[in-house]
Symmetry: C2
Subunit: 223 residues, 2 copies
């Protein structure tokens, strides 16, 4: 007797094997790895660049950059002084664990405290593919609107932290974004999630995020 497995499921199973392998490598070396997911232009790279600059000397950060095309983001990360490996998916809308596995081999993981994976800009598909990370971090910018958790629930349900970015624009231009409504919708999906309203541009609210990162790195290290 054979079990019927759909092709979609087979792809997910193959991905999960690589994800398991990645998570074992990270666990053995006691490294925190965070998978950042958001729409294009929510500010993932800008958040990373500021975080790398501010935590220099405290935490050694490496970044795996996922983009459909270009090396723009890896170049920005390297300019900030962190190790970066670029993956170009050539059309694919999310990263796969096998790609991350290859990227981990190219990063000097032993030398790092924290590895960020910046996924392809897409609020939908990346949420379905585990990469072996220790946790997901969702980013939503206020200019995208407060109805996004209701409309795209998966990523908000699965993330350990949510960065609400571009709060400087909230005040400057009177964007229609009700923080209370958004938070209430997110809490319905995920009671444990940490929510950080920030501006990666002005730096507002970033201290709380840094504190959470340092604490999380420590927890994994002590293991």
């Amino acid at each position: 007797m054979y079990k019927k497995v759909s092709v979609g499921k087979k792809i997910l199973i193959a991905n999960e094997e690589y994800a398991l392998k990645n998570s074992q490598i990270l666990a053995e070396q006691k490294k925190l790895c965070l998978n950042m997911i958001s729409s294009p232009g929510s500010g993932k790279t800008t958040i990373l660049v500021r975080t790398i600059n501010e935590l220099k000397g405290e935490i050694k950060i490496g970044v795996i950059e996922g983009d459909i095309q270009t090396e723009i983001d890896a170049e920005r990360i390297k300019a900030a002084g962190a190790a970066a490996v670029q993956i170009n998916t050539e059309g694919a809308c999310h990263l796969l664990a096998a790609q991350v596995s290859g990227a981990l081999e190219r990063l000097d993981v032993g030398e790092l405290d924290l590895i960020f994976i910046e996924n392809v800009g897409n609020l939908v598909c990346p949420a379905a593919f585990e990469l072996g990370e220790g946790g997901k971090v969702a980013v939503l910018s206020v200019v995208e609107g407060d109805d996004k958790p209701a409309k795209y629930p998966a990523i908000f349900a699965k993330s350990k932290a949510l960065l609400i970015n571009k709060i400087d624009l909230l005040e400057a231009a009177g964007v229609d974004f009700c923080m209370e409504r958004m938070e209430a919708d997110v809490r319905k999906l995920n009671k444990e999630i940490k929510i950080f309203p920030i501006s990666a541009k002005s730096g507002e609210g970033m201290e709380e995020w840094y504190r959470w990162l340092k604490e999380s790195v420590k927890v994994v290290k002590v293991g």
Copy 2:
């Protein structure tokens, strides 16, 4: 001898059959149908609501709304006075032509001049699935950054028109967005595309978009 066809290709072929059927129905009835594609929160629904209000009495508009979950968008469209049919993809990151085929049956197409399909908020996947539309319209808001055409080229290469939305935020908050850089990158991908810098909120630049819509409806009607 069998031709080898990958599963991904089979899905695309099944989709193309429905897309062809949709395009035939639209051609027979001489109706313009535009497939709007953007990231979540770029302003697709707000653009549609304003367009419906402004063109009331001139063009009869119907909307097929694609979302993963909720009927928020269809309710906004109906409140503006246009016919709307909501498709919930329940997790899928793009609309399929078969879903649009069902929605066209539920819309009173004969009574309309223009049918908009508002695709799921995703700058990547929807670009790969033809729905039988007469043309694609991409929406990019200035707060997403001017590097998006280089990083997500497919939708910019395939669209008839590009709406650069939220130009009110460009001036109000000094967003880092170089219109010239973005336009140059888009033109490398697509020489024919019409580019409309707009603010769906303030109404700035919308007249040109309305003119293009009215002209395009006329061209399809005269056939």
